[in-house]
């Protein structure tokens, strides 16, 4: 993120330096103005005004800064650059492209280096979609650029008044060159800037009705999130948050993916960086990286930039939404973001709220999640931003402030469970504690696109799982042999749902993505076993015989086969044969 236009402002001087928060005096500044601190011109942002004293959070390491060094106000707020060149980029928390930083300063991140968020010298082929004399409004699409396999639509910035177009011409342009001029003389470039802390305007917010298909059985099948919805994944460390987030980034059927690694591990970001370019979209066959923007601010990068990274990400997501795309945004992890707020707040010596978090934690979280949604854009198209936030509760305790404040806002809760991950049940999402409030609004879609039976099958599966957890309590006390026969079968059916349907191997080439129709077929097969099992038991077959049916043992293998149809048919046929034989001998 580069601030080029500097207004002439009275310069200030540094008064105090203590970590990432510094104090300046003699500076004419407003809240959230971007300032340049010290001789090295480190980037910072005004976060408090206290009489003469201006308190600034600095986005780079402050070691060596001395009182008396100059501080200069740019007069601009922290903004991102939006335009062709965003896709496939990898940024730090303040939109500096990491690849460019490597070229400028080597393998380690030094400070005082700025780099533009999108390349200035690259030329893009601009195709106009309107002509001179046409009336345009803020948000109107005036042309397009083939950026990757994604078409980047060029819009009138929301803060431009609009009017009649005086001239517009196709051709090869850099992002800063004027592609169109309005009657009143306003020049429009492909690049626009937008302050990260301000939501981009929309026409109207709508209620979501289409699920975001992720290829993950427990998510699509049991706890779906809608396009434009919000979800939280809280879980202790080691329970699979990051893998789940990465699976969503890889396979969700959004058109654009923004992935924010906020205060996470460097090596895990490397894994994302090396793996994503090799992955292909299961539908288009194009590299997944072409629709992806990554923001990597690892835990040892400056804390203030970590605070900003979440806003940088959501602003980019909104920009693509305004073009009429479905965008999904993953933030891993929002707890690290909240902790960055806490750290800055404690350095400001603010009165702490719960567990030392600032009192405005809940407000910041809800402002962030509220920037999601299915909308009618200013141009009249439909676009969405779905937000999926990971939460890392200390000690896995969901009663802590970040989890609780998040749950008050989001509509989908995927509760990760350390117990499940310890027994290598992945994804280790607890099916009893999780929920989705979108089930009703999405049920029409499932009826129409999957099968009218699907909603019934899902309800049935949830009932079996619920029943199993009750039965397990009894088994813990008296042993499984003491259960009535029908209930021994329920336990077996529940085991199949867990091991066949819910468990999914993210590292298996086939099982990593499971289409909705395959999910339906798998669940239907389990239901077929259950129906025949109860019927056989009623006909006098013993549970032990029913449980030792051989054919069902092959069901898990279906997961690992691409063209599973013949195999599944075979299993169902031999299962039927086995049941027929059992019943005839009973």
């Amino acid at each position: 993120m580069e601030v080029t236009e500097t207004k002439n402002q009275a310069g200030g001087v540094l008064k105090r330096v203590a970590g990432p928060v510094v104090t300046a005096v003699g500076l004419d500044a407003h809240m959230y103005d971007v300032v340049k601190v010290g001789n090295e011109e480190l980037m910072g942002e005004v976060i408090k005004v206290d009489g003469e004293a201006i308190i600034i959070q600095v986005y780079e390491d402050t070691t060596g800064l001395r009182p008396g060094e100059p501080v200069e106000n740019t007069g601009l707020s922290l903004a991102v650059e939006l335009g062709p060149g965003l896709l496939t980029s990898i940024y730090d928390g303040i939109q500096r492209p990491l690849a460019v930083l490597v070229d400028k300063m080597g393998s380690f991140i030094e400070r005082g280096v700025s780099a533009p968020g999108i390349p200035r010298d690259k030329k893009w082929e601009f195709r106009p979609l309107v002509k001179a004399g046409d009336e345009v409004k803020p948000g109107s699409i005036i042309g397009e650029v083939q950026e990757t396999n994604i078409v980047h639509r060029i819009m009138v910035p929301p803060n431009v008044k609009g009017g009649k177009i005086r001239s517009i011409q196709g051709g090869s342009y850099t992002v800063e060159e004027t592609v169109a001029t309005l009657e009143d003389g306003t020049e429009i470039q492909m690049m626009q800037r937008w302050p990260v802390r301000v939501p981009r305007p929309v026409g109207e917010k709508k209620n979501p009705t289409i699920p975001l298909i992720t290829g993950q059985r427990i998510l699509d099948g049991l706890f779906p999130i809608a396009k434009g919805g919000t979800a939280a994944i809280p879980g202790p460390f080691g329970s699979g948050k990051t893998v789940t987030q990465q699976q969503l980034a890889k396979w969700s059927d959004a058109e654009i993916v923004v992935y924010i690694g906020c205060g996470e591990r460097g090596n895990e970001m490397t894994e994302v960086l090396t793996e994503f370019p090799e992955l292909q979209d299961p539908k288009s066959g194009k590299p997944l990286m072409e629709r992806t923007i990554l923001i990597a601010n690892t835990s040892n990068m400056p804390v203030a930039a970590r605070e900003a990274s979440v806003y940088t990400g959501i602003t980019i997501a909104e920009y693509f939404r305004d073009m009429g795309y479905d965008v999904s945004l993953m933030a891993d992890s929002t707890s690290r973001w909240a902790e960055a707020m806490r750290e800055i707040s404690s350095r400001l010596e603010e009165m702490p709220g719960e567990e030392g978090y600032p009192a405005y934690l809940a407000a910041r979280l809800s402002e962030f999640y509220e920037r999601s949604g299915l909308v009618t854009t200013l141009n009249g198209d439909s676009g969405s931003v779905s937000v999926i936030g990971a939460v890392s509760p200390p000690g896995g305790d969901f009663s802590e402030p970040v989890t609780q404040n998040t749950l008050r806002i989001v509509k989908v809760f995927w509760a990760l469970d350390a117990k499940l991950s310890q027994r290598r049940h992945f994804p280790s999402i607890n099916w009893l504690n999780s929920y989705s409030l979108y089930l009703d609004s999405l049920s029409d879609w499932y009826d129409r696109e999957v099968s009218p039976e699907w909603n019934l099958l899902r309800t049935w599966a949830m009932e079996v799982l619920q029943k199993e957890s009750e039965l397990q309590e009894i088994v813990q006390l008296v042993g499984s042999d003491a259960l009535p026969e029908a209930e021994q079968i329920t336990i077996e059916v529940a085991r199949l749902i867990r091991e066949v349907f819910l468990q999914q191997n993210a590292y298996d080439a086939v099982d990593t993505f499971c289409s909705m129709s395959k999910q339906y077929d798998m669940m239907k097969a389990i239901r077929a076993y259950a129906d025949q099992a109860y019927a056989a038991q009623a006909a006098g077959v013993t549970p032990t015989q029913i449980i030792t049916i051989k054919a069902k043992n092959d069901l898990p293998q279906v997961k690992f086969v691409q063209d599973y149809g013949p195999m599944l048919d075979g299993i169902l046929k031999s299962m039927e044969a086995e049941f027929t034989q059992l019943r005839s001998s009973a």
């Binding site: 008064k15 330096v17 203590a18 970590g19 390491d61 402050t62 070691t63 060596g64 800064l65 001395r66 009182p67 008396g68 060094e69 990898i90 990491l98 690849a99 490597v102 393998s107 380690f108 991140i109 460390f237 080691g238 690694g261 591990r265 460097g266 090596n267 490397t270 894994e271 960086l273 990597a296 690892t298 835990s299 040892n300 990068m301 804390v303 806490r342 750290e343 404690s346 010596e349 567990e355 030392g356 200390p394 350390a418 991950s421 310890q422 027994r423 290598r424 049940h425 088994v475 813990q476 006390l477 008296v478 042993g479 499984s480 042999d481 590292y507 051989k550 043992n553 293998q557 690992f560």
Partner: protein, 459 residues
């Protein structure tokens, strides 16, 4: 360089110096006492009126008459190849009676963050010879994998065994060990030193010792000195460096002590709110640089107060490191060495370093199956305590026995037993799995079963 005699207040490890010229944040400070001896410190807060200095040694003897000099630069560590085989204090001074180190370079000890884009992918399997690590929680080069232990458990023996046996099969590249002790007892330090000498590992090691009776505040720089050295050996000399940091709990206590002295608003259990960021600035200094030769692999050791894994120290650590090896008191009581409980243990980078081309194609699935079967057997133990063994179904009894076998054969091994990954660990896993009926091995595909299962191999 101007000397100030304007110390106004001394509180714990902090000095408050008045009326100075502009002083840089983070600068190194030299303090001269009345008797001529010197101490070192660092600037924590600087403003026109007051500079706060944190002293790395005891403040005993410092008074308002002591002189303070600000050096104008951040703390730097002299580094060089000669450091191999040397023993240094927690503050980086030689304590083995040898000569001063002639530096090849002087490096800033805070160390800049590696640009995530410049990181290489950690995927070289490190064979430690310990089945519970190699088989089920694999360590790879460039990883940071802590040992979560508790008072009275043999974590030091495990760390030593890893340091002794760790190798990348088939690799002949140069390696080194950097060992940093923070607040451990002389006795523990001796055990480490004797083992290093016995095995000849000392030649390839740089040792930093901050013992229990050394100043606590010094502990806050010891790991940074060690990592600066490790980065030099790895990224400039191209060596593969294993860094052992013990005990991180003492480090965190020192952080809390400084936080309290500065009268900061405390976070959870009195630890400073920035402890996550501070720990990250240590742990994240593990890794590989794309296109570079060397690597830094970290094994921090921490003792969980009250065996509590949700305590802020293990909790924040677990959120930064790439997994954890959990040492269990229960297994230790059963007399099993190494008492590693695989259930809460995890290696996040495991999948990058195993499978075909790294270890063996069946590694991942065998590991998953062992986990699942052991977890099931372990759960049943609770049930047996209530209803007795007779009430169990035949299937349950098999899993119960599997859990005992797993602990007795797979987990338990000799302190000098160095198992290879293929025949030593994975085949052992298969032999244990063979006690279960084949159809219970739902995590492994048919093909692999037919290739590796002892029942089929025998044919």
């Amino acid at each position: 360089m101007k000397e100030y005699r304007t110390i106004n207040r001394i509180a714990g490890p902090l000095l408050f110096v008045q009326k100075t010229e502009p002083i840089g944040y983070g600068e190194l400070v030299n303090i001269t006492l009345a008797d001529g001896s010197t101490k070192r410190g660092q600037v924590l807060d600087t403003s026109d009126e007051l500079v706060v200095v944190q002293v790395f040694e005891t403040t005993a003897g410092i008074g308002r008459d002591s002189g303070v000099r600000f050096t104008g630069e951040a703390i730097k560590m002299p580094v060089g190849r000669e450091m191999l085989g040397r023993i240094l204090s927690g503050g980086g001074k030689p304590i083995d009676g040898g000569p001063e180190i002639v530096p090849e370079k002087r490096l800033d000890i805070t160390g800049a963050a590696i640009n995530p884009y410049a990181r290489g992918s950690p995927e070289d399997f490190i064979q430690t010879g310990i089945s519970t690590i190699d088989g089920t929680n694999t360590l790879v080069r460039g990883q940071k994998l802590p040992i979560f232990s508790a008072a009275g458990l043999p974590h030091n023996n495990i760390a030593l065994q890893i340091a002794r046996q760790a190798k990348v099969p088939g690799s002949t590249e140069e390696f080194a060990v950097v060992f940093a002790a923070m607040g451990i007892t002389k006795e523990e330090a001796n055990a480490f030193m004797q083992d290093f000498e016995r095995t000849g590992a000392l030649e390839r090691a740089v040792v930093f010792l901050n013992l229990a009776d050394d100043p606590a505040v010094e502990r806050t720089i010891t790991p940074r000195l060690a990592l600066t050295t490790a980065e030099y050996l790895a990224f400039e000399l191209g060596m593969h460096v294993l860094v052992i940091l013990t005990d991180m709990t003492n480090y965190c206590e020192a952080l809390r002590q400084i936080g309290a002295a500065r009268e900061e608003v405390p976070g959870r259990r009195g630890y400073p709110g920035y402890m996550y960021t501070d720990l990250a600035s240590i742990y994240e200094r593990a890794g590989i640089i794309k296109g570079g030769k060397g690597s830094v692999t970290q094994i921090p050791i921490l003792t969980m107060p009250g065996d509590d894994i949700t305590h802020p120290i293990p909790d924040l650590t677990g959120y930064i490191t790439e997994g954890q090896i959990v040492v269990s008191r229960e297994l230790h009581r059963k007399g099993i060495y190494p008492p590693i409980n695989v259930l809460p243990s995890l290696s996040r980078l495991m999948n990058l370093g195993i499978g075909e081309g790294h270890t063996r194609e069946d590694h991942k699935k065998v590991s998953d199956q062992l986990y699942a079967a052991y977890a099931e057997g372990n759960d049943l133990r609770g049930l047996v305590a209530i209803v007795g063994k007779d009430a169990l179904s035949e299937r349950d009894r098999m899993f119960l026995e599997f859990a005992d076998l797993f602990e007795g054969k797979f987990v338990r091994q000799g302190i000098d037993e160095d198992r290879t990954i293929g025949e030593g660990t994975l085949d052992l896993g298969w032999n244990l799995l063979a006690t279960l009926p084949v159809e219970q091995l739902s995590r492994i595909d048919r093909e692999l079963i037919e290739k590796y299962h002892p029942k089929f191999r025998a044919k």
